[in-house]
Amino acid sequence: MNLSWMAWTLPTAIFFITILLLLCGMAIWEYASPGGNPRVGVLRFETTRGDRLFLSLLGSAFIHLAWLGLVGPNLWWALALSVVYAIGVFRYV
């Protein structure tokens, strides 16, 4: 099968492999300690660690976009900010 139309590149491949590994990691974590560690955080409703991962990823995407639109094309700072945000989400949400 010819996959050239999908136009894979190394960076996007790394991106999707990272997501896949994150999902696998979450599955293993869930298997090791089932239940997803539900708790009520700053959003005032119950979230599990799956929700927190989703919020981290989605928020990171918006942080990157905002950085591109408002600051400039150097995304390493946006990445650093996203990591801080993700830690915040896992800690407080």
Partner: protein
């Protein structure tokens, strides 16, 4: 119902997973790949980095389409939700009229979207359309083909015509679950019409109203077919909403990179809205 924990249930979900992965994950991956590259056709791609995203985020065209779409969504919500509640409150509660009302009101919901567009394209024309003809006969100069405001009015009236019934049906579903005894008690207490609405009917409708608002917002945020058929995004760009703009870029000009970048930003917004929708609904169900 108490559910048992059983990971073998994954085998039952597998067909859905495979099918939806094929029709959702592969295309989305492709969109991500395209969004960072440039092409001159023939599946030859060049690395472009974040160029398309920068271009998109600094392009007036995108933000204008976004703004138009948001304004449109808020206008139709502001009309459809109160109107829908009002009509639902006046629906008959029992008897032969109930099914008749339900069926007739639901009719616009089941009309193919492009036919909805065709109906209003014809209905609003000032030469052969009933609406356009009589509005002009009243002395109001109305021509949706040339005047941007008239085009907006047409698209909004069309959407109200098309989707208010959904709000009505959802609210009605919430209302009929209120037992008659509640109303009798309120009557005997001498509660005003407003008090009945505020303290009995509105709380009962809260959940369905949330569903209605979120559904209407999301559907209007990705509206394509109806305005495309009626106005084609015009006159000028005045009714070019996000989806129409995206299709122009993606399929009209076949600009893969910019279209993919726009798709991703669009999709991220929808993802956020879907999450709000899902969270609201599951938390509501959990509280009950």
């Amino acid at each position: 119902m108490e559910k048992t924990w059983n990971n073998k249930a994954w085998f039952l979900v597998l067909p859905v997973l495979v099918l939806v992965a094929f029709s959702a994950v592969i295309p989305l991956m492709t969109v991500v790949n395209y969004s960072v590259q440039d092409t001159f056709g023939n599946n030859v791609f060049f690395w472009a980095g974040t160029e398309w995203f920068e271009e998109l985020l600094h392009s007036d065209r995108f933000w204008e389409a976004m703004l138009r779409n948001l304004v449109f969504s808020f206008i139709i919500l502001a009309i459809e939700v109160p109107l829908g509640i009002f009509i639902a409150l006046n629906m008959p509660k029992k008897g032969w009229a109930v099914p008749v009302c339900l069926v007739l009101m639901a009719l616009p919901l089941l009309i193919p979207w492009n036919v909805v567009g065709t109906i209003w394209q014809v209905f609003g024309r000032n030469d052969i359309g009933l609406f356009g003809y009589y509005v002009n006969a009243l002395g109001i100069n109305y021509n949706y083909v040339q005047d941007p405001i008239d085009a907006w009015v047409t698209v909004i009236i069309m959407d109200v015509w098309h989707w208010t019934s959904l709000v009505v049906l959802l609210c009605y579903a919430g209302l009929v679950s209120i037992p008659d005894a509640f109303y009798q008690a309120a009557k005997i207490d001498g509660a005003s019409r407003w008090a009945v609405f505020r303290y009995i009917q509105l709380p009962k409708m809260q959940r369905v109203l949330l569903i209605a608002v979120l559904l209407r917002f999301m559907d209007s945020f990705m509206i394509y077919t109806e305005p495309f058929v009626v106005t084609g995004g015009g006159p000028g760009n005045s009714t070019t909403f996000l989806s129409i703009d995206l299709v122009k870029t993606a399929l009209g000009q076949f600009d893969l990179g910019p279209a993919a970048a726009m798709s991703l930003v669009y999709f991220l917004i929808i993802l956020l809205l879907s999450w709000v929708f899902y969270t609201v609904m599951t938390n509501y169900d959990a509280e009950r």
